[in-house]
């Protein structure tokens, strides 16, 4: 097998079909980039879920004086007896891992820390405005339903908030983004396969004299088909390289920026490398398959 012969044939083929080659590269690049983004969102979601599942709590807010919540109307705030009863009730629930009481002073300290830059808010809100609450850590964050139902109507409780439901809205958004990226990626991969098929068909037609003679003088099938397959592979690889650049850009300018707000689980370069390798392999395999399928139809041996 003579490599320089194959490569000169490949080069001629790619140059003759320059516009088609560019179309293939662009389609493969965008398809693979979207596939990669989908995979990156995927690993991001599981990383963030792990991160948050340790931290999500169910907050049971207690009535304070003049509380606007309807459950608290008329009462002068939670009294010590109700508070003790609530704690016993919460601790008796089988789903609960541990419970902490957050008094007004602690809540105020947390609030100050979170809004350190906001002087208007800080000056307007006093320690007395902060609700007291029980912070419940569940053994399994998925079992919040029963806990909330059990505590919502209890005496002295103003409101029960599950942080998980807030997060889930966000995760739902991420998941639909992921699916959108994957669906578009699949459509583009399909389009890329058809484009490669057409490119190979064109070059098979352009070089029908050569392949006819090669067949006649007994060149092996591999030798006849390899230049065409290599054309597909090179177009696929170039598309993969562009896709890799797009993925790196999206990590730096999109994922890392979003991470600053959401969770302390930045996408690692290791994940990006895995995703790039995977999309490259998929891209090239698709190109090879599309080339072979087309060759079987248009290059009878």
């Amino acid at each position: 097998m003579r490599a320089n012969f194959i490569f000169s044939e490949v080069w001629i083929g790619l140059r003759r079909n320059l516009t088609m080659t560019i179309a293939v590269i662009v389609t493969v690049a965008i398809g693979m980039a979207l596939l990669g983004v989908g995979l990156m969102i995927n690993s991001q979601i599981s990383g963030m879920k792990d991160f948050w599942s340790d931290k999500v709590e169910v907050s049971v807010y207690l009535c304070k004086k003049n509380d606007p919540f309807p459950q608290c109307k008329g009462s002068g705030g939670v009294n010590a007896q109700e508070q003790a009863a609530l704690r016993t009730q919460i601790e008796s629930l089988p789903q609960v891992e541990r419970v902490e009481f957050e008094d007004a002073a602690k809540a105020y300290a947390n609030f100050r820390a979170q809004n350190a830059g906001n002087t208007v808010m800080l000056s307007a809100i006093q320690v007395g405005d902060m609700p007291e609450s029980f912070r419940i850590k569940l053994k399994d964050p998925e079992t919040y339903g029963a806990v909330i139902d059990g505590l919502k109507g209890a005496a002295g409780v103003s409101n029960v908030v599950n942080q998980k439901t807030i997060l889930e809205k966000f995760f739902g958004l991420l998941e639909s983004l992921r699916w959108a990226a994957l669906v578009v990626a699949i459509i583009l991969v399909f389009a890329a396969a058809l484009l490669i098929g057409n490119t190979v068909r064109l070059s098979a037609y352009n070089r029908r004299r050569e392949t006819g003679i090669m067949r006649l003088v007994g060149a092996s099938n591999l030798y006849i088909q390899l230049p065409f397959v290599m054309e597909g592979v090179i177009a696929g690889l170039l598309g993969g390289v562009v896709a890799a650049l797009l993925l790196i850009i999206s990590k730096v300018f999109l994922f890392d920026k979003v991470q600053e707000y959401l969770a302390n689980t930045p996408l690692t370069w290791e994940t990006v490398a895995t995703v790039i390798t995977l999309t490259m392999i998929i891209g090239v395999v698709i190109c090879v398959l599309a080339s072979f399928v087309t060759l079987r139809r248009y290059l009878r041996v």
Binding site: M1, R2, F5, R209, E210, G212, I213, M214, R215, L216, V217, G218, A219, S220, N221, Y223, I224, V301
Partner: protein, 229 residues
């Protein structure tokens, strides 16, 4: 060398067989003319030898191999032992004489040193010495056919198939082509030539196999083209 045993070939969508129970033997080193009107099955015969087509029934042996049992994977190896020449030359227009002949060796993976040694010899054998760097469009029809013969012979095939090699060439030039074919035949290569050219067949006095409607109607050693045409 070529052995047809009761071979029938019917093309799809056609009722009449292209070859109808044909049995014929061509020995090593023979020179055989295949004659007959258009559509009599000459080209089908050649295509069957190359395993470009498969017979509907009957057995074909070429160079000791049963073609029915030859896997697709091995067809290229069969074709390396068979050279082919056609009416329309089938040269590569963007390659010169030397490159056209060398192409046949390059694509079967022969080393460059071997190619550099063998190609000039064959170019000389077909009478094109000094024209190795001409492009096909700078050559006459007869010279182009010589290039095609050089390409067919450069790998020293056991069999040379020629499908109306003089069909596009004037009678005077055809004599030169036939001399080259005869020279190739004298090296021990079996030659099968399909032709319409009565003058050539009559002058060569070789074995003649005549086909008509897919049947062999005559098989004559040292024959002539026949009176019917």
């Amino acid at each position: 060398m070529i052995h047809f045993d009761n071979v029938t070939k019917v093309y799809a969508n056609q009722n009449r067989p292209a070859l109808d129970h044909v049995s014929v033997d061509v020995d090593k080193g023979e020179f055989v003319f295949l004659v007959g009107p258009s559509g009599s099955g000459k080209s089908t015969f050649l295509r069957l030898v190359l395993k470009e087509e498969r017979p509907n029934s009957g057995a074909i042996h070429v160079a000791g191999k049963d073609l029915a049992r030859l896997s697709n994977f091995k067809i290229p190896h069969l074709r390396r032992r068979i050279g082919c020449v056609f009416q329309d030359f089938r040269l590569l227009p963007n390659k010169n004489v030397y490159e056209n002949v060398a192409f046949a060796l390059e694509v079967i993976g022969k080393p460059r040193r071997f190619i550099r040694k063998v190609v000039p010899e064959v170019v000389e054998l077909v009478g094109l010495e000094g024209k190795a760097h001409r492009m096909p469009d700078e050559l006459s029809g007869g010279e182009q056919q010589r290039v095609a013969m050089a390409r067919a012979f450069v790998n020293r095939p056991m069999i040379l198939l020629a499908d109306e090699p003089t069909g596009n060439i004037d009678p005077a030039t055809s004599i030169g082509i036939m001399k080259v074919l005869d020279r190739i035949n004298r090296t021990g290569t079996t030659v099968v030539m399909a032709t319409h050219d009565a003058a050539i067949v009559d002058s060569m006095r070789k074995r003649v196999v005549e086909l008509e409607d897919g049947k062999i109607v005559r098989d004559q050693s040292r024959g002539v083209y026949g009176q019917a045409y």
